[in-house]
């Protein structure tokens, strides 16, 4: 694959946790390329290293060895502030538990990445409202997270991940807290709104019902990627 078209290139990435004197190898020489415009799913049993891998890719966790380049930048060699700026500009996050700030309404939650990037609050909230309309929540911009259903909260989280036009969106189990229909709707939204040729999506999931949304699926086990295949084979995973 041409490196200029790559969003993520992981080469021999190793991450070992020290849990009270006991060493646990979470990533054991992971190699993975993710192309721009691609929706890549990471699947595998609990504890296989999926979450550690997206944490490294998202630049919120440093690997112990190996290289992980995101848009050609080696995050490990970046200074703390550069890495923060890189994350603020280039990465969008969608979490399993939504992780919306409960005291902020939908528009305020969505505006956070813009404010972190230095936009004025009023402008940020205006843009956030526009993105909320895009995800079908134009009428709920002033609602608090507690006033929204699970699906609506995940839509707000998706709007928050998209609002600052990041080039990589990492999603951790985005549908596992949702029922089948809502999960399907959320994935449809992600694919329609979030994915385009200048952006890549990495989704960690256990939810076999959404495998067919993936362009490729990387199966992990015991800190390795044991298989990468197209979504057509999802039934076997």
């Amino acid at each position: 694959m041409d490196s200029s078209s790559l969003a993520v290139r992981c080469q021999n990435v190793v991450k070992i946790y020290d849990t009270g004197g006991q060493k646990v190898t979470a990533l054991n020489g992971v190699n993975l390329d993710i192309a721009m415009g691609e929706l890549m799913m990471l699947v595998g049993p609990s504890g296989c290293g999926k979450t550690t891998l997206i944490s490294v890719i998202a630049g919120i966790l440093d690997q112990d060895s190996g290289h992980c380049e995101v848009f050609g930048e080696d995050l490990l060699n970046m200074s703390g502030q550069s890495k923060l700026n890189f994350r603020a500009r280039n990465i969008g996050f969608v979490f399993q538990a939504f992780n919306l700030l409960p005291a902020l309404n939908a528009a305020e939650n969505v505006s956070i990445p813009l404010i972190i990037n230095g936009m004025k609050r009023s402008d940020a909230e205006r843009k956030a409202t526009a993105v909320l309309e895009q995800v079908g929540l134009g009428t709920r911009v002033t609602a608090l997270p507690s006033e929204l259903s699970g699906g609506q909260q995940q839509r707000v989280a998706i709007a928050r991940a998209l609002v600052h036009s990041p080039r990589l969106i990492v999603c951790d189990e985005p549908t596992s807290s949702l029922d089948h229909e809502t999960g399907h709707n959320v994935m449809t939204l992600l694919k329609e709104v979030a994915l385009h040729k200048d952006r890549a999506l990495v989704i960690v999931t256990h939810d076999a019902r959404i495998f067919n949304f993936a362009d490729r699926i990387a199966e992990m086990d015991d800190g390795h990627i044991i298989n990468v295949k197209g979504a057509k084979n999802d039934a076997s995973l």
Partner: protein, 386 residues
């Protein structure tokens, strides 16, 4: 990010109120208790404050505070008058005498005998009658608080309030008749005993017969006279103690500070207020941060720097600190205002605002520091934990 910090703080109303209440409590205790303490301590020298005219007080060298009377011979007055730099010197009697009330009970009073000719050292404010009326036969002036309460005549109804002593009423001081010729307003004394003013010669009649009855010599310095130099000269010439008004106040104040349990008792109250306030506010603030830890993690993951998170926490601490401090100080002021006519001692100088403000600041810094350390050490990868 400031509005996010404020909304995060106020998002959980219960916790937010808990923090504010803790700080309000700490601020209230740290302001109100010292205010009562200062009020009480200022009463220890209130008599000196009320006697405004003299510059220097002369007394026996063993006197430790204003109520510690060690009488002098009357001849000491003339020795003081003879010292250069003294414009005038007047005698004053001050002693505790028993007054016999109309119902036959006794009440200890502070009797003050003023120079017969000049009446220097009299009460600061006359409410009824004139100071000159002391020259009338058996005349005494009684302070209003004493007249209303402790020297009042018994109520005709059992358990009722005493009938205030009025001008024209009489009482017995050490078996001598005294006629009330005036009612004065004086600053309450430490023991809150009634104060009865009379002339020096009459006070000597009221007092038990002793060889020495002169309590103080009140001295006015000549214009331009250096007071420190004059007190040194009086001490050197007479062998007596001589203090400026401020020095005598300090002597009295320090005696009470060192020889009574008052400072330590109030100190313990203030310390407890500080500790309880710090515990409530600090722990609630810290718990609030712990509960918001995932939210801070989300902000960190999205690219918020530690410096901005630190500012957010400091803003939260400053906000709750300011509100809690304002409420505490406001409640203290309200307390002082509502008690202004009661027997309660209360003094609220501006320095006390700085003292309690510093206390509340320490609590807030302590609470914020705990939270800041936790947030700065926070790994943003926490956001991916279920």
């Amino acid at each position: 990010m400031n509005h996010i910090a404020i909304k995060m703080l106020m998002g959980d109303r219960g916790k937010y109120l808990g923090i504010v209440m803790g700080l309000t409590f700490a601020s209230l205790i740290m302001t109100q208790q010292p205010a009562i303490f200062l009020g009480l301590m200022s009463r220890s020298y209130s008599f000196i404050t009320d006697v405004g005219l003299p510059d220097i007080w002369v007394m026996d060298e063993k006197v430790q505070f204003v109520d510690d009377i060690k009488p002098l011979q009357d001849t000491e007055l003339y020795r003081v008058r003879g010292i250069s730099g003294v414009q005038w010197a007047m005698p004053m009697y001050k002693g505790l005498l028993k007054a016999r009330l109309a119902d036959g009970t006794f009440q200890t009073c502070i009797v003050v005998g003023l120079d017969d000719a000049t009446l220097i050292g009299g009460p600061p404010v006359m409410l009824e009658g004139k100071l000159d009326d002391l020259r009338r036969s058996d005349g005494v002036i009684v302070d209003i608080d004493g007249a209303i309460d402790k020297l009042g005549k018994p109520s005709p109804t059992p358990g009722g309030k005493p009938i205030p002593l009025k001008v024209g009423d009489s009482l017995e001081l050490n078996d001598h008749r005294a006629i009330v010729v005036g009612i004065a307003k004086v600053t309450r004394t430490f023991q809150s005993q009634p104060v009865v003013y009379t002339t020096y010669s009459r006070a000597k009649n009221y007092a038990p017969k002793e060889r020495k009855l002169l309590s103080f010599v009140l001295v006015k310095a000549k214009p331009g006279q250096d007071l420190a130099e004059l007190t040194r000269r009086i001490r050197a010439t007479t062998g007596l103690a001589a203090y400026t008004r401020e020095e005598f106040k300090t002597l009295t104040y320090e005696y009470f500070m060192h020889n009574t349990g008052i400072p330590i008792n109030f100190g313990i109250s203030v310390l407890l207020g500080f500790i309880v306030g710090a515990a409530i506010a600090g722990q609630t603030f810290y718990n609030s941060t712990l509960e918001n830890l995932r939210q801070f993690g989300v902000l960190k993951a999205m690219g918020t720097s530690n410096w901005i998170l630190l500012r957010m926490i400091l803003l939260q601490a400053v906000l709750v600190g300011t509100i809690g401090y304002g409420l505490g100080v406001g409640l203290t002021a309200l307390f002082g205002y509502s008690m202004r006519n009661s027997i309660l001692a209360f003094k609220f100088p501006w320095q006390l605002l700085l003292f309690s403000g510093a206390g509340v600041s320490v609590i807030c810094i302590f609470a914020a520091l705990l939270s800041i350390i936790k947030v700065i050490r926070l790994e943003p990868a926490i956001v991916f934990k279920g």
